[in-house]
């Protein structure tokens, strides 16, 4: 490939091969400073690199929202569909050409809110697509409204007294249809990379929920000073569970 980025410094040359998967000319990303979406992009690139995915066999699909812009950064054929419809678009692609690896990167509001019904049925059909859900528990692009994964009691723009509703139990939906489900956070980098790599290899529908920080429209309202503090809260709040086949709300792990 001709786009390998090398960094020359003295007699040391380092090759950042994972950046091959991104359109270099489009960086920096348009996300806010401290946004975790960039880390997820990097994670997906690394997993793709491990599995030797290429422009010839991979398609990236996303929906709408901050994370909906992800697909456009990949140096692949990519689709930025309408709000909530990344899953049916991906299913159409996979069915029309099963040789393609179809990866969805989108947000929790997109995949679980407006597009929740499609997830339900795609997992029922067990279409062989990989979904990476950037779960920042907020509608970031529109200013910080409650999303389907907002924790109970959490303050958002639309729930100033704290969210009264329970967050969606994605695990239960995917488990019911024997699909691959993993929960991880951007802080648990190696774990997240493992989750994504395994999900890309999984035959059938796979769903990786990555807890990601949105400092601008979520963190600040909840009292975090910066993105780092939010990432540290993932370190404190989430423990890796590799033993049982059900994850508690404060656990991360893989369920196949």
């Amino acid at each position: 490939m001709d786009k390998i980025e090398t960094v020359q410094e003295g007699n040391v040359t380092k090759v950042l091969t994972h950046l091959n998967y991104l359109k270099q000319e489009r960086l920096p990303t348009q996300w806010c400073p401290g946004c975790g979406n960039g880390i997820v992009l990097k994670l997906v690139c690394q997993a793709m690199e491990k599995l030797d995915f290429s422009q010839k066999n991979t398609v990236m699909v996303s929906g709408i929202g901050c994370s909906g812009r992800s697909a456009g950064y990949f140096d692949l054929d990519s689709i930025h569909s309408v709000h909530g419809r990344a899953i049916p678009v991906a299913e159409g692609i996979k069915n029309a050409n099963p040789a393609l690896n179809v990866i969805i990167i989108s947000g929790d509001g997109d995949l679980l809110g407006i597009g929740g019904n499609h997830l339900l049925h795609a997992s029922r059909r067990n279409t062989n697509i990989s979904i990476v859900c950037i779960a920042n528990s907020i509608y970031g692009m529109t200013g910080g409204q409650t999303s389907p994964t907002t924790e109970q009691g959490s303050k958002t723009l639309t729930t100033p007294q704290g969210n009264a509703d329970t967050p969606i139990d994605v695990q239960a939906i995917l488990k019911a249809h024997n699909s691959y489900y993993a929960r991880t956070t951007v802080f648990h980098f190696n774990h997240a990379e493992k989750c994504i790599t395994e999900s890309l290899q999984h035959e059938g529908l796979s769903f990786v929920e990555i807890k990601t920080q949105c400092i601008t429209n979520d963190g600040r309202r909840r009292g975090f000073k910066n993105a780092y503090e939010m990432m540290m809260s993932y370190k404190e709040n989430y423990k890796i569970n590799s033993k049982t086949d059900t994850l508690e709300h404060n656990e991360i792990g893989i369920i196949k």
Binding site: V7, V12, L22, L27, P28, G34, I39, N226, A227, Y228
Partner: protein, 71 residues
């Protein structure tokens, strides 16, 4: 014992000065001055910053020089 050293390259076009690396670095190798990220040359190549930088702005090259000190 060989002491691990890193050479830090900051891509200032990509860096949004979010401060994640400043807080992540165990040896306090980064500082922000005038809304710009600076590096202080103490990198031990733990790669935490490269990994968590959301903007792909940091590249750390590991330099494995033979240690010349007595320690």
């Amino acid at each position: 014992m060989a002491k691990k050293q890193g050479i830090v390259s900051i891509d200032h076009k990509r860096c949004k000065v979010c401060g994640i690396c400043v807080n992540m670095c165990p040896v306090k190798n980064y500082t922000i001055k005038n809304h710009k990220l600076h590096e202080l040359g103490q990198c031990i190549a733990c790669l935490q910053c490269e990994r968590y930088c959301p903007d792909m702005a940091l590249v750390i090259d590991i330099k494995n020089d033979k240690d010349t000190s007595t320690g």
